[in-house]
Symmetry: C2
Subunit: 245 residues, 2 copies
Amino acid sequence: MSDTEHLTTGSPKPVFPDDGILKLYSMRFCPYAHRVHLVLDAKKIPYHSIYINLREKPEWFPQVSSSSKVPALELVAEPKNSVLIESLIICDYLDEKYPEVAPLYPKDPLKKAQEKILVVRFDQFINAFYKLVLHDNPASLGDTDLYAGLETYEEELKQRGTEFFGGTAPGMLDYMIWPWCERFSALKFSFGDHFDLSPERFGTLLKWRDLMLKDRAVKCFYLDGKIHAKYMASRRAGTADYNML
Amino acid sequence: MSDTEHLTTGSPKPVFPDDGILKLYSMRFCPYAHRVHLVLDAKKIPYHSIYINLREKPEWFPQVSSSSKVPALELVAEPKNSVLIESLIICDYLDEKYPEVAPLYPKDPLKKAQEKILVVRFDQFINAFYKLVLHDNPASLGDTDLYAGLETYEEELKQRGTEFFGGTAPGMLDYMIWPWCERFSALKFSFGDHFDLSPERFGTLLKWRDLMLKDRAVKCFYLDGKIHAKYMASRRAGTADYNML
């Protein structure tokens, strides 16, 4: 478990040994950064985690990440200390660069493209999720959009008839959507028991969730619903509590 | 040159011979669809173009494109007539599936990821472009954001010292940003001569533009600034004139 203190305005840039190990700039509760942790952990690639306070960023951070955002992956062994940004681009890079352990895409270009389309379509769920989580009066919103966004995945996994979208092990699609699925269980702590997936409507996804919870990479970075709910409440109040762990 | 009549509500689904040739659902003035035309033409892949009226779509179109958007590429030779959506996913698929002619990415995974980051960062320019083009009173907006979005590319190409971002021939980055660069020359017809790139500030990109205009794939789908300006004016007026050609 890494130190999860988040560096902030005034924090010096951390110094690491010249060990050639990747550095991941992250935020402990950021689901986009979570994607990269999952892929690094699935592929057993060692890395240093550096957590950034996104409200009061260290002065040196924009020089590291051209977008000033997390996740940013610094490839210290590459010329000019190359830094990659954008969660999907980083994860695709890692899968191409480290194909031996846990290859995450189908080899066939068409099947690979279809997985990517399902990753992009998940934005519908992500948007509905944030609309709910960050709304002043979430109870007024209802949950129609939220569940509609998930139905595609329930149907897809049922049709595939496999344990994971990736087959017998999680693939890129599994890991790319997992951060929000993990956070789904925060909703009942924030907004009441009716925010739970119905076994009749989402039976396949519920079985998938239980299997994902046993996956080694998922366990490496897992937080339970209560903790996610506590962080989301602090964010909604405008005082995101990055160092609560 | 394909027939550019756009199919609309009530239009029957066009019937093609069982020739195994790709079908591209497009709109003649859509820059995202333009990306796919460029890659197909660069790779000399034959395809049928089917143009869709996006304001009054044919009833059968949502069954073809799961997002109801263009571009959508129907792979008629694949099982279940697979249809791909999302311009970047389609173009990446084409580059993987047809690597022999005009390979568009660097082979090195890091360099490839860096090209993808530059494609995504171009959204800054795209957003500024649309804000201007679709604004009621464009003169009031100025052009700061527009030019700021281009500076990254001027600097990048200068540093590379190559004719194209792809080296001696256009690569994925060249083709992915080209549709908006082609449309840039519409701005002076719409909003006046001051919307032109300054040779002092954008000398490298201006040379690149002249070279791109000579590229075979670019020429295949090229429209001049006056025509783009006329289409944009019709769109701004709420009466997008798809069939003006």
